[in-house]
């Protein structure tokens, strides 16, 4: 970090390599569009490099760059003002076939009958895209990427209670939208 702030290109490259996948994932889950996610991830790192001198060190670099990614994505969604229903990643990772949740959701005797991975992911993405951006963000960071409430609160610059509240209402909405795929109810 110190070398990156001293304009060491190799040091910043190392930071990019370390965080590129997670930043891209956040942008993708917010937009459900590969091209948009690519643009947003690139813009995040460009801004991080440009404003590296403003990083005071009062939070971790991880939190700081995530905050840039989140603000960039939210501003992009506000300007776009439409929901992207297409899932542009054609295939989910092959390991999904072994996931118990996937098996439970797609078994032949399940509520929806047998569906393939693409259909399930499409349904998931359509449902998530129906959430408002702040609610979509908390679900993405918590349930998809595994951040804690405290980390999400730092990234979103709000209280943990607000994070929990938004998460609750987002889940209520998703539960309605994904009812055919859920075996249990709240």
């Amino acid at each position: 970090m110190a070398r990156a702030r001293a304009n060491d290109p190799a040091a910043f490259d190392a930071l990019v390599e370390r965080y590129k996948q997670r930043i891209y994932s956040t942008c993708y889950h917010m937009t459900s569009n590969h091209e948009d996610a690519n643009d947003l991830a690139q813009e995040t790192f460009i801004r991080a490099f440009k404003y590296l001198d403003r990083f005071k060190g009062d939070s971790s670099f991880y939190t700081w760059i995530y905050r840039i990614a989140v603000n960039t994505t939210l501003n992009f969604l506000a300007r776009r003002r439409r929901t992207a229903n297409q899932m542009s990643l054609d295939d989910a990772d092959a390991n999904i076939q072994n996931d118990p949740a996937f098996i439970a959701a797609t078994r032949q005797d399940g509520p929806t009958g047998q569906v393939n991975a693409n259909e399930l992911m499409d349904a998931l993405n359509v449902a998530v895209q129906k959430l408002s951006p702040p609610h979509r963000l908390v679900v993405t960071l918590y349930d998809v990427q595994g951040f804690s409430h405290a980390e999400i609160a730092r990234i979103m610059n709000c209280s943990e209670g607000t994070v929990r509240s938004r998460l609750f209402y987002a889940r209520l909405q998703l539960q309605q939208l994904l009812k055919p795929f859920l075996a249990e109810k709240a």
Partner: protein, 235 residues
């Protein structure tokens, strides 16, 4: 043309009725109704989800969040199946080669932006995007400046108007003639300017109105200003 309802068996409309009866044979394709019930259920769920979204965005909840008093809500234990389903999104990934070229694309993009710097407005907008708090502060400051400027202009305009209505009053020092009107000015004591040196006030102050024996005051016209009330009287 008559406006009264026609009788059902009005023979004038027999042909029309026969034509309209043909519409009973209109039916949608058989498969249209097959998914009707599931579509209905889907729309019901979407409607309920939209209602939850409205509840989530109501102003009272937002106010509580802003005040740091969010409602107590169930935690992870209330949504086990949904959480397992959402976790499946972790398997979504772009092609492996995408991340191999990520750094090279980033370097190229940074070089391109360096050669073609953004316009002033684009840089200004980007700076505000990175610092949303600055946007809020600028908005508040602009609003305060505009309000203060408006108040200052309004006060200046009022002062200008008040000064221009009445010039210094000349006093009729000679005894008043019963044929000539006398301009009597009543000065508001609260706004009368302070005198640093004794000055013979040019204004004849009279209580208004006061009857005097043998003198009748008849008002010809009245002029009102914010501070001075001038009336023409004959006596």
């Amino acid at each position: 043309m008559s406006t009264t309802p026609q009788q059902p068996d009005d023979p004038r409309f027999d042909d029309l009725r026969r034509l309209l009866a043909l519409k009973r044979h209109e039916t949608p394709p058989k498969e249209t109704m097959d998914g009707f019930l599931s579509e209905f259920h889907r729309r019901q769920e979407e409607d309920r989800a939209a209602e939850i979204a409205r509840q989530a965005n109501r102003w009272s909840l937002r106010l509580r969040e802003w005040l740091g008093i969010p409602p107590s809500v169930p935690g992870d234990e209330a949504f086990p199946a949904l959480r397992r389903l959402l976790a499946l999104k972790r398997y979504e990934a772009p092609p492996a080669v995408y991340f191999e070229n990520f750094l090279a694309r980033l370097r190229w993009r940074m070089a391109a932006q360096h050669e073609q710097p953004a316009t002033f407005w684009a840089r200004w907008r980007e700076a505000l995007t990175v610092r949303p708090a600055v946007v809020a502060q600028l908005a508040v400051a602009t609003t305060v400046v505009v309000l203060l400027a408006g108040l200052a202009v309004d006060r200046w305009t009022r002062q200008l108007t008040a000064k221009s209505e009445f010039g210094p009053m000349t006093v009729v020092s000679a005894p008043a003639s019963h044929e000539e009107p006398v301009r009597v000015v009543y000065v508001d004591a609260a706004t009368e300017p302070r005198q640093e040196e004794p000055v013979e006030t040019p204004v004849m102050k009279l209580p208004f109105p006061e009857a005097r024996p043998g003198v009748h005051f008849v008002s010809d016209s009245v002029d009102f200003s914010p501070r001075q009330y001038a009336t023409l009287v004959h006596y």
